[in-house]
C-alpha cells in the first residue's frame, strides 16, 4: 500500500510525524526526564560520563561511572523521600486516593449505568454535570468546599458547634479529590456502555437473572477494560491533584500536605534535590500509569475486539 503513496504525500507524512514527535519530546519527555535528572544529580552525571566512556570504547569504565553515580545519588534521594514530612505527605496522598478512587469507581459505574440503560427526565443535565469537574478550574472546585464547609461557610457554624473539621483537614482534601476525579470513570464507561446497548442486559433479565447477577455476569465483563482504564486515570489524577487540594488543605506540614503540595513547599524553600526527589515519585506514577494504559489499550484493541 505504502509504495503506491505519492512521494509528495510521503514527505508530508514524515514531516507531520516528525513534528508531532519533536513536540512531544520537547514538551513532555524532556521535562519528565529532567525531573529524574534533578532528583538523582550524581546519577545523571554518572550516566553522562558513562555514555562518554562508551563513546570512547570503554564499556567497563562506563558501567563503573554509571554505578558510582547511582550509588552517590541514592542516599540523599532516599533521605529526601523518607523524611517524616515527606512520609506524611505520601501517606495522606495514599489515603485521599484510597478513598476517592473506590468512591468514584462505585458512583462512576452507577451514573454510567443510569445514563446508558435508562431513560429519565433530566438525563441531559446529568451528563453535563458529569463533565463539570473537568471544565471548572480546580481552584474554583476547592473554593466551593471552603464556601460550604469553611468557618464562615453555609455549614460552617454547625460544623464548628459540633467540632467537626472539614476544611484545612483530611476530610476536605478527600472531598476535593473526589470532586476533581469524578469524571474519569464515568467518561470512560459511558461510551463503552452506549455502544454495547441494552440488549445483553435485557436478554439476561429475560432469562431470569436478578439485577445483581446481570451486573456481575453480563455488564461487568463487558466493561472491565474500560473500567480499569478509567480507574487508572482516576488514580493518577487523585494522587497528582494540586489546585483544589491546595485551596482546602491549609498547608500544614506533616498533617494536611499531599505529595504535590509537599513538592511545592520544598521547591519554594530552594530545597531542589528533595523537591525533585518527591516529584520523581509522582512522575514515576505517571510513567507506570502510561505503561499500564498502553497495556490495557493493547488488550482492549485485541481481546476487546471480539464482539458481535
Amino acid at each position: 500500500m505504502s509504495h503506491a503513496t505519492p512521494l509528495r504525500h510521503r514527505t508530508g507524512r514524515a514531516l507531520l510525524i516528525g513534528a508531532a514527535l519533536l513536540w512531544l519530546a520537547f514538551f513532555v519527555l524532556l521535562p519528565l526526564l529532567s525531573v529524574f535528572a534533578q532528583a538523582l544529580p550524581a546519577a545523571a552525571t554518572g550516566l553522562t560520563a558513562g555514555f562518554k566512556a562508551i563513546g570512547h570504547g570503554a564499556p567497563v569504565k562506563a558501567l563503573g561511572a554509571i554505578g558510582s553515580g547511582f550509588a552517590h545519588s541514592w542516599s540523599p534521594y532516599w533521605e529526601a523521600i523518607t523524611q517524616p514530612d515527606a512520609l506524611a505527605a505520601i501517606k495522606l496522598t495514599l489515603i485521599a486516593a484510597g478513598i476517592a478512587v473506590p468512591a468514584n469507581l462505585v458512583f462512576g459505574i452507577a451514573v454510567s449505568w443510569a445514563i446508558t440503560k435508562f431513560d429519565f427526565p433530566g438525563k441531559g443535565l446529568l451528563i453535563s454535570l458529569v463533565d463539570l469537574p473537568l471544565s471548572v478550574s480546580p481552584v474554583v472546585a476547592g473554593l466551593i468546599y471552603v464556601l460550604m464547609f469553611g468557618a464562615t461557610g453555609w455549614f460552617g457554624p454547625w460544623l464548628v458547634e459540633h467540632d467537626v473539621q472539614i476544611v484545612f483537614a483530611v476530610p476536605g482534601i478527600v472531598l476535593a479529590t473526589i470532586f476533581v476525579t469524578f469524571p474519569f470513570v464515568a467518561r470512560e464507561l459511558i461510551p463503552v456502555m452506549t455502544e454495547q446497548g441494552r440488549d445483553d442486559e435485557t436478554a439476561a433479565v429475560a432469562l431470569g437473572a436478578s439485577g445483581w447477577q446481570t451486573f456481575w455476569h453480563v455488564t461487568l465483563p463487558n466493561i472491565r477494560w474500560g473500567l480499569l482504564y478509567g480507574v487508572l486515570l482516576c488514580n493518577a489524577r487523585a494522587m497528582g491533584e494540586f489546585g483544589a487540594v491546595s485551596v482546602v488543605s491549609g498547608h500544614i506540614r506533616g498533617e494536611t500536605n499531599t505529595m504535590p503540595l509537599h513538592v511545592e513547599i520544598l521547591y519554594n524553600e530552594y530545597n531542589f534535590l528533595a523537591a525533585f526527589a518527591v516529584a520523581s515519585l509522582l512522575a514515576l506514577l505517571a510513567l507506570v500509569t502510561l505503561v499500564l494504559k498502553g497495556l490495557l489499550e493493547w488488550r482492549y484493541g485485541h481481546g476487546g475486539s471480539a464482539r458481535h
Binding site: D199, D200, T202, A203, A204, V205, A206, L207, G208, A209, S210, Q213, H217, V218, P221, N222, A306, R307, H308
Partner: protein, 352 residues
Amino acid sequence: MALRPWRECQALTAISIQGVKRRFATFPALNGVDLDVESGEFLALLGPSGSGKTTLLRIIAGLDFADEGVVCFDGENVSELSVGDRHVGFVFQHYALFRHMTIAENIAFGLKVRKRRDRPSKAAIAARVEELLNLVQLPGLGGRYPAQLSGGQRQRVALARALAVEPRILLLDEPFGALDAKVRKELRRWLRALHDQVGLTSIFVTHDQEEAMELADRVVVMNKGRIEQIGQPDALYAEPASAFVYDFVGESNRVDVEVKDGAVHYLGRALALDAGDVRPGTATLAFRPHEGAVVESGGIPVTVTSVRLRGGLKRVEVQVEGDGLLELDMEHAPTVGSVIELLPTAYRLFER
C-alpha cells in the same frame, strides 16, 4: 397508576391481549390492540417501522408495559409481571449473545442463574446444553465464543439459549433482520421445521411480507398502532381488508379514481370496470403487476418509460398522466415512449 379497565382474562388461549394501549411521550405506539393466539401457533406481526409491532412484542414479553389493557397467558393475567417472571423466551435481532462466554455458557446461563433449590445439577445443565446444541444443529461448538460463529449460527445459539429455560412462549424480534438474504432463507425454513418439532407457541416480528407469509400460520398486519387484519397468509393475499394490507402483502399498483353511478372514473373518463358495491366517492384502484393489460379503449392512458427483463417476463414501467409510476409484468412489452391504455384484468377498489 395507569388505567386498566379489564382486570380479568376473558379468553383461555395461550396468549390473549385485550385493549392494549401504549403511548410514548406524544407518539401513540399502540391504539387499542386485541389479539388471541392459540397454543402451538406460529404468529407473525407484520408491519412497517413505527406500526407498533415491536412495542406489542415487548409488551407481551414484559419488557415494556401497557398504559391500558391486559396481557394474559393461558387465562392468567400477567400484565403486572416483569419479564423474568413471565417465563418467555426472547430472541433479539442482533442476537445479544454474551460475548465473553462460550456458546455452552451462553446456553446454560438461564439455568445457572436460578436459585439454588431450582437449579439443575452441573451434569444436568451440561446434558441440557448438549441436547440443545443438537437441536439447533450446532453439535460440538459449545467451546467456541460467539465471535467465532457466523450470523446464522449465532442466531441459532440465541434460540437455544432462549429454549434452555423451557419458556411457555417464544418471542422473536426481527430474528433474521441482521442476516444476508441467502442465510435468511435457510434459517427461515429451519425455524419453521424447528417450530413444527418443538410446538412452542411463537410470535415473531418482521417487516418482510415474504418472511411472514412463508413462515407463519397466521399473520397480523399492523399499521399506525392498530391491527389492520389478522388471517392466514393465503387469505390476506386473496381477501385484503384494506388498501394498506393489499399493498403490504405483495407488490401493488395504486391509482386514485372516482366511483360514480356504479362505474369507475379516471380523470372524468369512465373505465370499463365494475365498481361493485363500493360507495360513490373517491377510491383507490389497486392491482398487482401481473394483472395489467393493454386495451384498445376504456383504459387508463399511460406512457411507457422503461422495459427490463425480469425472470421470463418483461417488467414494464409506465407513467400515469397526472399520477405516479406503475409497474407491470408482461409477456410482450410495448415500445418505450409509446402511449397505451391500461386496464387491470383483476383488481380491488378501496374506499378512501
